[in-house]
């Protein structure tokens, strides 16, 4: 039956899970992954190993995991210190970064107050009005109201850490706009309180600190260590007379390649972070509109968007706010927030790939090392007390637990990636449910699957693993292979998901909760398999064609 769709109300937007929550989880996981990857560069470049092309201290060759397998318990204990040292440095570095992140996050509000020279709002009448609007927003928590000294600032901002929440109002906003245009004042404050109601403060400020610390500290430290290793390597070769121009250029290119890789990874995460914040602005606008008729604000956005020049590409990429035109369009027709976005899916998949590659490689390596060390230790300690059969069984037990742990970890990753991945498909349903401009399903699913595959391909090129080198022309042949195999996989799972959800289209559709656990598990496993296939593609490809 062809029935006319009813309009999506502002309040109904919040009945669906906001996709930014998924992006936020993914972002935190990806930043952790990148931090571990880059953290690993530090010991790799400090200590000479077979896998590190440059090094500072020729300390040990025992860092390679493979060698742990092929050495006897006696040899292992002789080299235990050398074995543990690089790992300890690597993970200490990562731990320091995480602690610093938390410290920076907690200190953030004090920094903002100091930097902007904010003062507590002294006027009790203004405080009463703000309290009244706080109540209207459904907030009961304590908010500290601050004002800056700029009479030409008519904007406001919320910030905070933990349960300490602050509102910063421009002096112009409370001194002039409050009296001259209360309607606009109310809209601005309700928008800010909506950020609090939408729980944006904790998410975005923590994510920001989480990104900035690895961005600044890791980039600087890793680059400095790598650069020192490069200089030491080059000067060593020059002094010994064992060098050619080509070999020097080779070393420099290794350094630049890694440096660019680190910078590109962090810049990408920076773009994702800004995208995350921009998306929260739509939700704040919509929440405020559900509390107060948005006529004034729609009219303001419309007029201002006609007058203020459009943002350039970089402003759009790095800005904290979407363009006024997009804000106006979303407020005028809230269903637009549920239009499937290839751009978001592309970035999501790319970030997922980076996280997955990092988690898979370093998580697996770490687990492998821990369980191997445990296995060896058990064998060594119980040697002579138990027979060899029992020793072997104990090692198997350790390895089985390790595998189960790793599988659970991958399922956890699969669950997070699944939610962010399928939300674009879910949006087709939500959009078609409320909009008269229906989206054609097949082209939409093809477009989404194509962009998801492109995201994987970009990740594959950006974070090459298992001997893949973008500079080797032959290796590039594996890229179309990755693209085709992931596209086929994504198309199949997307279509399956769409039709599963289609059966519920007339029910009250709740994206996350209406999916049965077994289906979620199934889809999560499929997604993990597609990502693993992409990560391991180079090996498959070379085994297939060049072996």
């Amino acid at each position: 039956m062809d029935k006319k769709n009813r309009t999506l109300t502002y309040g109904e937007v919040f009945e669906y899970p906001p996709e930014t929550d998924n992006i936020y989880r993914l972002f935190l996981l990806a930043v952790s992954g990148v931090t571990i990857i880059i953290g690993n560069y530090i010991p790799s470049f400090l200590f000479e190993t077979e896998s590190s092309p440059l090094s500072i201290i020729p300390l040990t060759e025992f860092y390679d995991v493979d060698k742990v397998y092929s050495s006897s318990p006696d040899e292992f204990y002789r080299n235990a210190l050398l074995f543990i040292k690089p790992i300890a440095i690597q993970f200490s570095f990562v731990l320091i970064i995480f602690f610093l992140t938390y410290y920076i996050y907690r200190r953030l509000p004090a920094g903002i107050i100091r930097k902007n020279r904010l003062e507590l709002i002294p006027d009790t009448d203004v405080i009463e009005i703000l309290d009244m609007l706080k109540k209207k927003s459904g907030l009961t928590l304590n908010i500290n109201y601050y004002v800056n000294g700029n009479i030409r600032d008519f904007s406001a901002q919320v910030f905070g850490a933990g349960n300490k929440i602050y509102l910063k109002a421009g002096r112009g906003l409370i001194k002039i706009m409050l009296k001259k245009n209360f309607d606009m004042f109310e809209n601005i404050i309700l928008h800010e309180f909506s950020h609090i109601k939408n729980k944006d403060i904790g998410k975005t400020y923590f994510a920001g600190s989480f990104l900035k610390t690895p961005f600044l500290i890791t980039l600087i430290t890793a680059s400095a260590v790598m650069f020192y290793a490069l200089i030491k390597n080059i000067t060593g070769k020059i002094i010994s007379g064992d060098y050619t121009v080509l070999s020097l250029l080779g070393k420099i290119s290794i350094y630049l390649n890694l440096f660019l890789q680190i910078a590109a990874l962090l810049l990408l995460l920076f773009v994702v972070f800004r995208m995350l914040i921009r998306s929260r602005e739509y939700y704040a606008d919509l929440r405020a509109a559900s509390l107060k008729s948005p006529g004034t604000i729609i009219s303001y956005f419309k007029k201002a968007s006609e007058r203020i020049p459009a943002k350039n590409f970089f402003e759009k990429l790095y800005g904290f706010h979407p363009s006024l035109k997009l804000r106006y369009e979303t407020l005028a027709d809230p269903v637009k927030i549920f239009r499937p976005s290839e751009k978001i899916l592309f970035i999501n998949t790319l970030v997922s790939y980076i996280f997955f590659a990092g988690a898979f490689i370093y998580g697996l390596s770490l687990l492998l090392m821990i369980f191997t060390v445990t296995g060896y230790s058990m064998l060594y300690l119980l040697k002579g007390f138990l027979n060899e059969y029992v020793h072997l069984m104990l090692v198997y037990v350790v390895l089985i637990f390790g595998t189960i742990f790793m599988a659970l970890f991958l399922l956890f990753c699969g669950s997070i990636i699944r939610k962010s991945f399928f939300f674009q498909t879910d949006k087709i349903h939500i959009f078609n449910k409320y909009s008269d401009n229906k989206i054609s399903v097949l082209p939409a699913v093809i477009r989404l699957s194509l962009t998801a595959s492109l995201g994987i391909v970009c990740g594959y090129m950006l974070l090459p693993l298992y001997g893949f080198n973008v500079l080797h022309f032959k290796n590039l042949f594996s890229v179309p292979f990755v693209f085709l195999i992931t596209f086929a996989g994504f198309f199949a799972v997307n279509y399956f998901h769409y039709f599963w959800m289609d059966s519920k289209i007339n029910n009250e559709y709740k994206v996350d909760y209406s999916v049965p656990a077994m289906l979620g598990l199934f889809e999560g496993i499929l997604i993990v398999i597609i990502f693993l296939t992409a990560i391991l593609s180079f090996q498959f490809f070379t085994a297939l064609l060049f072996s």
Binding site: N116, N150, I151, R152, D153, F154, S155, A156, Q157, V158, F159, G170, G172, L173, K175, I176, M177, K180, N181, M184, I188, H191, E192, H195, D200, I201, T204, Y205, G208, I277, R280, E281, A284, K303, A304, R307, I308, G319, F320, H321, L324, R327
Partner: protein, 148 residues
């Protein structure tokens, strides 16, 4: 000196255009000269807000532009050479109650057109709504024409 004269002329105009803004005129004009930068794109902020109902910032920008033009193209003196006589001439130029004395600034038709053009261009650039812009434009242009 130029800042002072711009402020004085602007205050006279605001008395006529939007007298309720006199309450915070000093703060607004000081902010104009200090060029206080508003954080246009703060994290979890509302975004940059233009408050087009406010006439003072627009008047300050326009008067500042016109004074600079008059000094360089009409009176032809450097800003640091401005004296009381020139100051009076400039103030007289913006006054609706002009006295016809030999001290008056007289503009050619082209110069007057140039100033009108300058006003229109600036009004398009700056943050002011249509109603306020029209009010400011009328007030400024009538002040030049009256008494001529």
């Amino acid at each position: 000196m130029t800042e002072q004269i711009t402020k004085e002329i602007s205050r006279t105009l605001i008395e006529d255009i939007s007298p309720d803004e006199l309450e915070y005129f000093d703060e607004l004009s000081d902010a104009h000269f200090k060029r206080d930068v508003t954080d246009k794109d703060a994290q979890l902020g509302f975004g940059f807000v233009e408050f087009g109902e406010l006439a003072t910032p627009a008047v300050m920008t326009l008067v500042s532009g016109i004074v600079t033009y008059l000094l360089t193209d009409v009176v032809k003196v450097a800003k640091d050479q401005m004296n009381e006589t020139i100051k009076e001439k400039l103030k007289g130029f913006f006054s609706k109650k002009k006295k016809l004395t030999e001290n008056n600034l007289t503009l050619s038709k082209e110069q007057l057109e140039k100033i009108t053009g300058l006003i229109d261009n600036k009004l398009r650039e700056i943050d002011v709504n249509e109603k306020t812009a029209l009010k400011i434009r009328d007030s400024l242009i009538s002040s030049f024409v009256l008494g001529k």
